[in-house]
């Protein structure tokens, strides 16, 4: 009797959690459903996007896989790799140098860092854009890589400093007794200790670069330099009559798919990285 009662109590305790969960999931999945729904329609199908298409048109997907699409993917990958390498390479090196040099300047620089992280990119738009024009970095992936990496360096330095502080300096000392210089120590002793944070930093930087809209849209004006986000934008922009909305939606799905797959596969690292970057 009492067992049955407690079981019943347990059940009634749980049902609202499922109900709330289902409501949350519906709210979060509805836009994704709408996008998928749009991407599987005929151009002429203007029925409600709440219901399934009259006819499933899967050809929208292969139709957008032209050379421009792959070129945009290539550009996005170049930007991603370049930004990750410069931002993390320079950022982690600087973090090591700052934590180990123990002077007051390094404290000042790290609080300055916090300030820089708060500046919205657009507050600097005029200065940044006219600089990029001056150094002929418009329509150049390299210019954008350097600019994006520089923008991310303060945050990366901040994150790495939090981790390097907890690596005992005894490790450095042992290495220097063995005759390794600072650079050697950094690359062969310190770097391997930072594997976990480096993985999360790579993912976060890569996702941020893939999704970047602000500077690419102004700096990459030639179609041959478009990133995937700019391709999606131009596909939707031509929706007034000329364009093909279902194909634009299909391109949007394809462009976001790598990120979603990465997220689902590396969720543990991404969420841990998020916790680390916010708690520390």
């Amino acid at each position: 009797m009492s067992v049955a009662l407690s079981m019943k109590k347990k059940k009634t305790h749980h049902w609202w959690k499922y109900l709330v969960s289902v409501v949350i999931l519906v709210i979060y999945l509805l836009p994704i459903y709408v996008l998928l729904n749009m991407s599987l329609r005929d151009v002429t199908d203007i029925g409600s996007r709440l219901y399934l298409p009259e006819h499933f048109n899967f050809t929208n997907y292969p139709n957008v896989l032209d050379s421009q699409f792959f070129n945009a993917i290539k550009n996005s990958l170049i930007l991603m790799a370049g930004t990750v390498i410069f931002q993390l390479g320079f950022g982690s090196m600087a973090a090591y140098g700052l934590t180990r040099s123990h002077n007051r300047l390094s404290k000042k620089i790290s609080s300055l860092n916090m300030g820089i992280m708060m500046i919205p990119g657009l507050a600097l738009l005029v200065g940044t854009y006219s600089l990029m024009v001056k150094i002929h970095a418009v329509n150049s992936l390299w210019g954008l890589i350097l600019l994006s990496a520089a923008g991310g360096i303060p945050g990366t330095v901040f994150m790495y400093m939090n981790f390097i502080v907890s690596i005992p300096t005894a490790l450095d000392d042992a290495a220097s007794i063995d005759g390794a210089n600072v650079f050697r120590t950094y690359f062969s002793i310190i770097m391997p200790q930072l594997k976990a944070i480096t993985i999360t930093q790579i993912i976060m930087t890569a996702v941020g670069s893939w999704n970047n809209y602000l500077m690419p849209v102004f700096l990459l004006q030639k179609k041959s330099k478009f990133t995937i986000i700019l391709m999606i934008k131009s596909a939707f922009d031509s929706k007034g009559g000329l364009g093909n909305l279902p194909e634009a939606a299909a391109m949007c799905v394809l462009g976001m798919l790598p990120i979603i797959i990465l997220y689902l596969a590396m969720q543990k690292y991404i969420i841990e990285g998020q916790i680390d970057s916010s708690v520390k």
Partner: protein, 289 residues
């Protein structure tokens, strides 16, 4: 030892060069430009002192964008913290499917704000938008969701909060899991009840998480830009602009580079003036345990 100290400083040089070239230099360049009347591309520009700053105070679009920026910042922060904490409390419970909720709620953060705004644009459309189709199911509507600036601003705030809610959820979840079990057990022995436990134990011990969540969201909300571009285009009639978006329009559409730079400097100060005292205040409220 002195030699290795120099080597440590050497390690920081590439990063410092990058930051100086691409952040400090544009900042100084922007401040200087703000004292000029300049269209953004011609070789000549005219020094006009503080005129750009003075005209900002008489510019209704500036005030409107400033108020909108504050709404985006504070509104999103409020919504995200309240609902983020509630969802964190939910997924902190043990039940099947809680991982699915966590995964799905965090997922939109991975997607570009520009793309999210684009998708949501097709949800809030007057004709054929999914929100109105849903209303039609219960025989209501249709509603012209983006008809006025106030409505567009509210919907943008809502969409932004929805997209980045997962951030708060994760911050609070981590905070909740860091609370030592013995405090909660002690509270149960004292018989304070669930609500008492939440307000007297959980919430005070969560204050460090509140600090990070509030500051992160405020900074994110004040920066809001790409969701607005694709969701409302700043409209109707430039009434849902944020300051960031206004700066971009002034520079590239209106060819007022000097004025855009001045508003950039103002935005910088506004964010600093708001975030700094809030950070100090919240830091004081944190409980040591």
């Amino acid at each position: 030892m002195q030699k290795s100290k120099r080597a440590y400083i050497l390690l920081t040089i590439p990063a410092i060069v990058m930051v100086v070239a691409f952040i400090a230099f544009p900042l100084v360049n922007g401040i200087l430009t703000s004292f000029y009347k300049w269209n953004g591309y011609s070789q000549t520009r005219r020094f006009i002192g503080l005129s750009n700053y003075l005209s900002a105070f008489q510019d209704t679009y500036f005030w409107r964008s400033l108020i909108n920026t504050l709404i985006y910042g504070f509104g999103s922060t409020l919504l995200q913290n309240v609902f983020g904490l509630l969802i964190a409390l939910l997924v902190n419970q043990k039940f099947r499917g809680r991982n699915a909720v966590r995964t799905i709620v965090y997922m939109p953060i991975m997607i570009s704000g520009f793309i999210m705004g684009l998708i949501l644009y097709y949800c809030v459309q007057l004709d054929g938008g999914v929100w109105n189709d849903l209303l039609a199911l219960i025989g209501a509507g249709p509603i012209y969701w983006m008809k006025t600036g106030a409505r567009a601003t509210a919907i943008i705030t809502l969409v932004n909060s929805w997209q980045y809610l997962g951030l708060c959820m994760i911050i609070y979840l981590a905070g909740l899991q860091n609370i030592p079990k013995m405090y909660l057990e002690a509270a149960q022995i004292d018989g304070v009840g669930k609500l008492g436990e939440f307000f007297h134990i959980t919430l005070p011990l969560l204050m460090p998480s509140v600090t990070t969540a509030v500051i992160t969201n405020l900074i994110g909300g004040f920066k809001l830009y790409d969701v607005i571009v694709s969701l409302s285009g700043g409209g109707p009639n430039r009434k849902s602009l944020s300051l960031s978006y206004y700066i971009q329009l002034l520079y590239f559409n209106d060819e007022k580079a000097g004025y855009a730079a001045a508003i950039g400097v103002l935005l910088f100060f506004i964010i600093f003036i708001i975030s700094w005292p809030i950070n100090q205040f919240l830091k004081k409220k944190e409980v040591e345990y």
